[in-house]
Amino acid sequence: MARLSTVHHEDLAADSGLTPDAGSALHRLRASLPESFRSRIRSARELVREVREVQEEEEPLATAVPALDRLLEGGLPRGQLVELIGARSSGRFSALLAVLAAATGVGEAAALVDLGDGLDPETAATMGVDLERLLWVRPAKLKDALAATEMLLASGFPLVVLDLGPPPVRGGRGAEAAWLRLARTARAHGAALLVGSPYRVSGTASAVVLKAGRARAAWLGGDEGSPRLLGGVASRITLEKCRRRLPGQTEELALAPKEAPLPAAPPPARPLRPARREEAPVVPLVLRRAAAG
């Protein structure tokens, strides 16, 4: 063990080009080992390079939700677990369906493991989900949902969305080991795994955690005898955890019912810096809608 540790340091030095003598240490070590062990010796730098190359090769899966794409730097990373947390009416479910619509819209197959059993096929079709390419799985327990998700990831689905439904989640948070297994399976098969939950469940297994804040509803009408109408919902999505970046970046998510579509004007881009936690600026939700009735 001590010998390996020594070589590790020499190797690092060699790779950094500091000591030319140490540069051949790795070669000498490899030459001294049996054939079957040579390929297993890696320097830390080589390992990092390999991981980066793999990540760069895989094009992310675009979500078609501008706020999510900006936070995820292009889309859902393949082979990783992304968790989207959101309380009731935070827009979490709409975001998940939009991701499914984007994936099935480009011709990919996708699976929705719907623990909350909340999918309305008509709504999904309206949002652009190609229902023929969507496999809907309706487990009754979290344990079954995790098992089903693992099977789907292993069977080659490029996108699996697991929605845990509104709180309380049936079956608690699940075992940490189960989430790690899911992350490992997603990585092994290069599949994007998006988990929607009311609170953090995946622990250290997730590569990215996004949190949808409390929703602000916009109502139309209601004065002079005109009927009130739900005009839309806006919430703020925050990057809570990311393995490659500092967390804190926020984006605005604006949603409108199908009867009152919002203009698809993207909110202004924000600088990549942590948001102030004490008091986030409130972006007014501007609604434009054709006259009701």
Binding site: G118, L119, R133, D144, L152, G156, R170, A215, V233
Partner: protein, 517 residues
Amino acid sequence: MGSPRIACVSLPLFPLAARLRSEPELIREALVIVEGNGNAARVVAATRLARNAGIRPGATLPQARALCPKLVARPRDEECERAAQEALFEVAETFSPRVEDAGEGTVFLDVDGIERHFRGPTPELDLGRALLAAAEAAGLPARAGIASSKLAAQVAAGLPDSPVIVPVGEEAAFLAPLPLARLTPEVDLASTLERWGVRSIGDFARLPKSRVASRLGTTGRELHTTARGIDPRPLIPREPPPAFHEGMSLEWPLVSLEPFLFVGRAALDRLCQRLESRGLACVRLGLELRLEPDGHQTRSIDLPAPTRDVKTLLTLVRLDLEARPPGAPVAGFTFVAHPDRPRQAQLSLYGPPALSPDKLATTLARLFALLGPDRVGSPRPVDGHSPERFALVEYAPPPPPEVRREPRTGRGLLAVRVLRPPLELEVITEEARAEDQDSAALLPIEVRTLVSGTSDKRLRIEGAVKVASGPWGLEEEWWTEDPAGRDYWDVEIAGAGIYRIYRDRASGGWYADGIYD
């Protein structure tokens, strides 16, 4: 038209070969296959170890045990023999589409022209060797013979140093030096001829045809014709079976699941290999159980898509047996695979990758087993206005586009998360117009979930209504006895979300059936 070329593949000691195919671990034992019951059981076939101990076919079981105390005895098993016969037939079908099933471990193939696939100096010999290798790979130690008639091919297949090739037109010369016993299994006729001094097939063929017919009748005349190398029987090809069988009778009745799955797995392995050899997969798996002391049980497992995955099939069998135990010890079993063509997928160079049909079928089958068939599928909307309605259809995604499409920017639509079943509520309302009791006059001002035994662990909605929008009427199926009449409101509850609630016009009860999320 030249002479046809017919190959015969036969399994010597067929009952023994069939048993060893199902229980290969017995090959190193002194094993005999017996027919009959108790001490009257007689040996039908024996392994080399048992034959070396002096055991011969026809000996009784006590005699055999006296010669070899460590003898392992197994009764003849129809299931094993049927499966071995089918497997042999399928091996033959991989070489020729015209195969006749002669039963008892023998099949005939029309191999006319097939030798052209073998480029060596002795193409028919190479074809025979290939037949033997294929049979060996299926666990069948066979012998093969190729000739221009079925009879000559069968006799050739019975000889050692297999495969034996009989050149065209040399059938009579090939048969002539062989003993008459090779020609006819009817011992009485052979012994009669031997008493006449006729010992070989050639001797018999030299006798005048009319004399043989007058002394031995029709049987003698037919035998004389075959002894001259003339076999008028044509090859009668068999249609492929509608189902594949694999099973065995168990030495001891099994009462627990794990030992049954252990032997069942081996049978499923063999079944799937047979399906694979014909490019088929199993779309429905039947299981026939023979119970102790008597009785049968049959069950059928439907698969969402054709599959050959043994692990999946075994899981489904396990779940089915756990859900519905047989209720008696199992003395024998047969798996019946109903075949179908497996799904094919065209790979795309520039489009998104398609799902592997095999993997998808396996996953769907496992999901069905885990969750039930009503919980897995492709969603479809249903005509009508009730939001909780939906339909599930079989998941069979269309092939991906040839070129990857560009993703479109989402429309930013707000979805409703449906609550199934609707959540029962207690709603305090305000009467907008006191003189009018119509529901249009009601305005929800406070909402509370009704706590019942079933809803304890479900979502709770509680709080004062901040904004309410409605009512929006829904009437459906008014022509039926159970029409749906609802008045919907969209309500925002302070700090607790936006919900879609309704009041049932018939009962007056309040429910929440969706969350704007």
